[in-house]
């Protein structure tokens, strides 16, 4: 059986102050059709 999938990822680093920083990330996954061969 075959299954194709791909994903995209992004991350943002946000220094807010000298003592505070934040990180936000996003990921998109896609699973394509599963086939039996």
């Amino acid at each position: 059986m075959d299954r194709d999938n791909w994903a995209a990822y992004a991350e943002w680093f946000v220094p807010i102050t000298k003592t505070l920083e934040a990180t936000a990330s996003l990921r998109y996954d896609h699973y394509d059709k599963t086939s039996s061969s």
Binding site: T19, L20, E21, A22, T23, R27, H30, Y31, T34, S37
Partner: protein, 409 residues
């Protein structure tokens, strides 16, 4: 997979067509995290995120079970149903563990995660050391301010910046001279900071010219790191080349050295890069010490002047480009056997033009070679009487040394 039945036409086992099981889906996940360092010893961090787990193949379809048997190869038991094509005999979507097979069969498991952490310790460190160093280095004028004040409250900052290959920590320097009489017979000019980018202005020559008008017959120029002993830069000292070895690690600090132990002669300049090595590791004569001759201090009672190898000085200044050249220089002079300059005698130098500076007496004609030769001859004789002919010959730094020497003889 291949069929178990022979194709009556070809006599071969045909490959069975793919079974399209559908099951297409997309999922977007995210995560948010934060780090907070309210005080140096406390670190608070937390995050929130989502996730999913894609179903395994066995969650989508199960192995074909036909009449209680999972062995062998079977044709699709219900041709025409979604995901079941005639001849496809590998998986039974209808009879699999996922009752919603096909497009509705692939449903990921989703999750949400929370993390919270609070750490209390002696030093939780910066957020990110790389970012921290850059950030500190980019503080407007912070490093330069440290260099100007000579105080490096955070040595790690300086070391980190010094080790940077992009730029040194001290790009801007004040050029100021503070003169203070240390003793009656001594005079010291200190607080002189080099301006590294002034290549052609000859900061050393300008520095020494600050002493013009103040008679001396011995001198020492010392440039060293003002505050931190762990960030040595370079030093300038006077003394014959053969005597430079006297400055060893056992010596007291140069500032404590009695001036009368010094001797005139070529200036020895050592270049030392900015680094972590201690200053004591690079005293003259030790490995890492690179002496550079940049000029001479010529003594003549009452009429001190300096003679510079300007090209060498230029090269010296050029050498310290790109180096961390934050230094505080001081010069201590002493007039020993000679009395201070007479009122009618003073020194004059040649401005900022790259020529040798020449001492002149106002009572003399500045252009009179005879006067200069005569004065030079007196100097040579006086020096010869004290230190011998070799010293005298070495001291005969004069616009016309040959004539001077002939006159002296």
């Amino acid at each position: 997979m291949f069929s178990t039945d022979l194709n009556p036409v070809t006599g071969l086992y045909d490959q069975l067509p793919d079974a399209d099981l559908g099951n297409t889906f997309s999922k977007t996940t995210y995560k948010i995290s934060a780090r907070w360092l309210p005080i140096k010893e406390l670190l608070v961090r937390g995050s929130y995120g989502t996730g999913f787990r894609a179903p395994a193949m066995t969650d989508i379809a199960g192995a074909l079970v036909f009449a209680g048997s999972t062995t062998g190869s079977y044709a699709c038991p219900f041709p025409g149903t979604p995901g079941c094509r005639p001849g496809s005999a590998q998986y039974d979507l209808l009879a699999g563990p996922n009752g919603l097979s096909g497009d509705n069969g692939l449903k990921p498991e989703t999750s949400k995660q929370w993390t919270r952490r609070c750490a209390l310790g002696p030093d939780q460190g910066p957020f990110d050391r790389r970012r921290s160093v850059e950030r500190r280095d980019q503080e407007p004028g912070a490093v330069a301010r440290h260099c100007r004040t000579g105080r490096f409250p955070e040595s790690a900052t300086v070391r980190g910046a010094c080790s940077s290959t992009v730029r040194g920590p001290c790009r801007v320097y004040d050029h100021r001279v503070r003169a203070a009489a240390v003793q009656r017979r001594h005079r010291e000019v200190s607080g002189h900071r080099l301006r590294r980018h002034l290549l052609n202005s000859n900061v050393l020559g300008r520095f020494l010219r600050e002493l013009d008008g103040h008679p001396y017959d011995q001198g020492e120029v010392l440039c060293s790191v003002p505050a931190s002993r762990s960030t040595p830069i370079w030093e300038v000292r006077t003394g014959p080349a053969g005597r430079i070895q006297e400055y060893d690690a056992a010596d007291p600090e140069p500032a404590d050295r009695p001036v009368d132990q010094l001797a005139d002669g070529p200036l020895q300049v050592g270049l030392r890069g900015c680094g972590l090595r201690r200053r004591r590791d690079h005293l003259p004569g030790e490995p890492g010490w690179i002496p550079r001759r940049v000029g001479r201090v010529v003594r003549e009672c009452g009429v001190p002047y300096t003679t510079w190898d300007w090209q060498t000085v230029y090269n010296f200044n050029k050498d310290i480009r790109g180096r961390s050249a934050s230094s505080t220089c001081s010069i201590a002079t002493r007039h020993g056997r000679c009395k201070p300059a007479a009122a009618e005698t003073r020194s004059a130098t040649t401005g900022g033009t790259p020529t040798r500076s020449v001492a002149r007496s106002t009572g003399e004609s500045a252009s009179s070679s005879d006067r200069r030769v005569a004065r030079c001859a007196r100097t040579v004789r006086r020096t010869a009487a004290v230190a011998g002919p070799d010293e005298a010959r070495r001291a005969a730094i004069h616009p016309s040394p040959k004539a001077c020497w002939i006159a002296a003889r």
